[in-house]
């Protein structure tokens, strides 16, 4: 059974690069966002899932990454491919301050802009796979084991001689760095940055909820969470937002979310994994 599951997962994964050539642009956009939020959820998973440290402000790292990459590109001509490996900039006036920042759409791939939206799909897919690879690798290393130990019982872990502060800090650094890379993608995918959006609580919740629904502290949980939640939101909007029922889709999405949390409290991935182990 387990082999079948792995084979199915590999087959699904192998099919993902073919999506843009089979489906329309809307599906490409939807998948791009699934990968993007899967990436962010996975980055949060390192500190929130494995180390068990609840970070409800991850949007701040995304915002810093987004603004820095945008500023470096627009004002200094530094390619966002480099801007992704960002430095922290705190000059709010130059960043457009509270009035938002708008990026000129040029379609120049050197500036991380693509005339063909399918390019974003592949970039997001690679980002999601790469971060999942990193998490899977970390899980099997001493670092990953320490993080799980900190999550389960920090005092006991410290008593065994683990420098818990150091490992929590390392987890936070790695997680925020990866989230910042996501910020650069966000900036050049949407071409405008509004402080309330990129630094706001709702975005932090969007990030966390992927990992919670999918299964925090598991390698595939945040990815599965993203594959569940993004299509749910879209389907709810697609079917309920057309008539005069303003907001009905949000109620439906909320109910679906409650159902997921009620019936899969530990997340979808652990339940699925148990199912396949039988």
């Amino acid at each position: 059974m387990r082999r079948v599951a792995i084979a199915a997962a590999v087959a699904l994964l192998a099919m993902l690069p073919l999506v843009p050539s089979v489906f329309g642009s809307y599906a490409v956009t939807l998948f791009t966002l699934i990968f993007f939020y899967g990436f962010l959820g996975q980055a949060w998973n390192i500190v929130g899932g494995y180390a068990g440290q609840l970070s409800a402000g991850h949007a701040a790292f995304l915002g810093i990454g987004a603004y820095t990459a945008a500023l470096l590109s627009v004002e200094r001509g530094v390619t966002p491919w480099l801007g992704m490996c960002r430095i922290i900039v705190s000059n709010t006036e130059a960043l457009g301050g509270a009035v938002g920042y708008y990026i000129t759409f040029t379609g120049d791939p050197r500036q991380f802009q693509f005339q063909d939206a399918r390019a974003y799909y592949y970039v997001a897919l690679v980002m999601m796979l790469a971060v999942t690879g990193i998490v899977a690798w970390l899980e099997r290393r001493r670092f990953g084991v320490y993080l799980s130990a900190i999550r389960e019982d920090e005092s006991a872990c410290e008593a065994l001689g683990v420098n818990t502060f150091r490992y929590k800090m390392l987890a936070m650094m790695l997680s925020s760095f990866l989230t910042g890379i996501g910020g650069a993608f966000y900036a050049f995918y949407l071409f405008s940055l509004q402080p309330a959006s990129v630094f706001g609580i709702p975005l932090s919740v969007e990030i966390i909820i992927r990992a919670i629904v999918g299964g925090a502290g598991t390698v595939l949980g945040p990815i599965l969470g993203s594959f569940i939640l993004s299509p749910l939101a879209e389907l709810a909007r697609y079917y309920f937002a057309q008539g005069g029922w303003h907001g009905a889709h949000l109620v439906v999405y909320g109910l679906l979310l409650i159902a997921v949390v009620l019936f899969l409290p530990e997340g979808a991935y652990p339940r699925l994994a148990r199912l396949f182990r039988r």
Binding site: V28, G100, F105, Y189, F191, R237, H249
Partner: protein
């Protein structure tokens, strides 16, 4: 010569057959396929109220165009709106635009807030779908696209806007202040600017300050004593105390509905004497709900806002219809600009050589000179080299006898303004 005898039976057959042929319906004329427009607005979330007004405005306009025979030069082709909701989130502007283009939308319309509008721009440019912005003020939205076309990074500009830009708001407010003060024969030396400290408030105050510096008018704005407040505020007594200390001749607030409800009663309570309250442009100072709540505090308050041309009987009729369809809401900036945008699109489609070629539609957009708009314009709707309509301007409105009335510029005024404010 032989002839077939005309029997009663053959006569009946021939008559029935002839009657059947004559009575048969003419082959139905092929109904042209509708032209699909993606109307993306924030109909849920914090911006739901203006977003719903935009949507209803666009829907009424589509009904009117279709009732009037559709696009006549294209065989009466009807318009069809495909509705999108950004949920007041910028990223959904892009998702919804993609979804609706995928469903066959040939033009984009939207989307009220500058963040989601900017996200839609990339879809328009990537997929070559002409995009008419009905509401969104941030200057860079169109200016950035125009620049990338000018520098050769993009071939064609697909993004156009029929709404005043942020800089137009500031420039026009300073102009109206100057003209109204001159007409009233006063030269205020202490105009105090106050603003909500959110995205909109900061943008508006910066635009106003920049325009003031550029125009160097005879009246004086207290540039170094601008008073911001966090939005939404829980209490504005400290800010109003600071205002009192400035001894203002004119109070110039940039509000949101929630902050206006606190600010104006507080100004009354702290008994600040001034020539009047004149805002550079913001919501909260003219809506029916605000007038009902603020009553006398809002009387004689002026604000520079995009406004329907209520001198036109067409606007008055539509405003009545809108009120019935919206459950009593006022036909205003949001519904009006979305309504006009659909008619501008209809005008463009009438003139476009081909509708299956986005560049032909863009060519028609660039040659627009539309004069039948319901909003107050400074001339025909047309698009400059940046893609903006320079004739999309605000109007100074004043609350007189509990109703918002256009008072400036003179050719838009329904009544003469009352300034300075009469003493109670």
């Amino acid at each position: 010569m032989t002839s077939s005898p005309l029997t009663r039976r053959t006569f009946l057959k021939a008559t029935l057959a002839g009657g059947a042929i004559a009575g048969a319906p003419r082959p139905l004329r092929a109904q042209p396929k509708p032209f699909r427009i993606a109307a993306v607005h924030p109909v849920t979330g914090p911006l739901a109220e203006p977003g719903q007004a935009c949507r209803l405005g666009a829907q009424l306009a589509v009904e009117a165009v279709n009732a009037g025979g559709g696009i006549k030069s294209k065989g009466g082709m009807p318009l069809e709106l495909l509705l999108g909701d950004t949920q007041s989130k910028p990223e959904n502007g892009r998702i919804e635009a993609e979804r609706l283009v995928n469903q066959g939308a040939q033009m984009l319309l939207g989307s009220f807030d500058s963040g989601s509008t900017a996200a839609m721009v990339s879809v328009a440019q990537q997929k070559r779908v002409p995009f008419l912005i009905d509401i969104a003020a941030a200057d860079p939205i169109t200016a950035n696209v125009a620049r990338s076309v000018k520098e050769g990074q993009q071939k064609v500009q697909y993004v156009y806007r029929n709404f005043p830009t942020g800089s137009t708001f500031g420039r026009k407010a300073v102009q109206y202040f100057t003209e109204i003060f001159a007409e009233a024969k006063v030269t205020p030396k202490r105009v105090a600017l106050m603003h909500c400290n959110d995205l909109f408030g900061v943008n508006q105050s910066r635009g106003f300050l920049a325009a003031y510096k550029a125009a160097k008018p005879p009246w004086t704005l207290l540039e170094d004593d601008v008073i911001p407040w966090p939005e939404p505020p829980s209490d504005l007594s400290t800010e109003v105390a600071r205002l009192k200390a400035l001894k203002p001749d004119v109070i110039s607030p940039i509000t949101r509905p929630a902050s206006a409800l606190l600010l104006l009663p507080e100004i009354r309570k702290q008994r600040i004497e001034s020539l009047g309250i004149v805002g550079p442009g913001s919501p909260g100072l003219y809506e029916a709900g605000q007038i009902a709540a603020l009553k006398e505090d809002l009387e004689y308050v002026m604000a520079s806002n995009p406004w329907p041309n209520f001198r036109s009987p067409k606007t008055q009729r539509l405003a009545e219809d809108y009120q019935k369809r919206s459950g009593g809401r006022l036909f205003d900036t949001n519904s009006g600009y979305s309504y006009d945008a659909v008619f501008v699109i209809a005008d463009v489609l009438e003139r476009a050589a081909k509708l299956d070629d986005p560049d032909a539609i863009v060519e028609a957009i660039q040659k627009t000179s539309y004069t039948a708009g319901l909003m107050q314009y400074g001339g025909p709707v047309h698009f400059n080299e940046i893609g903006d309509n320079p004739n999309a301007i605000p109007t100074m409105i004043q609350i007189l006898k509990a109703k918002p009335v256009a008072v400036w510029p003179k050719d838009a005024a329904l009544q003469k303004f009352v300034f300075p404010r009469p003493k109670a």
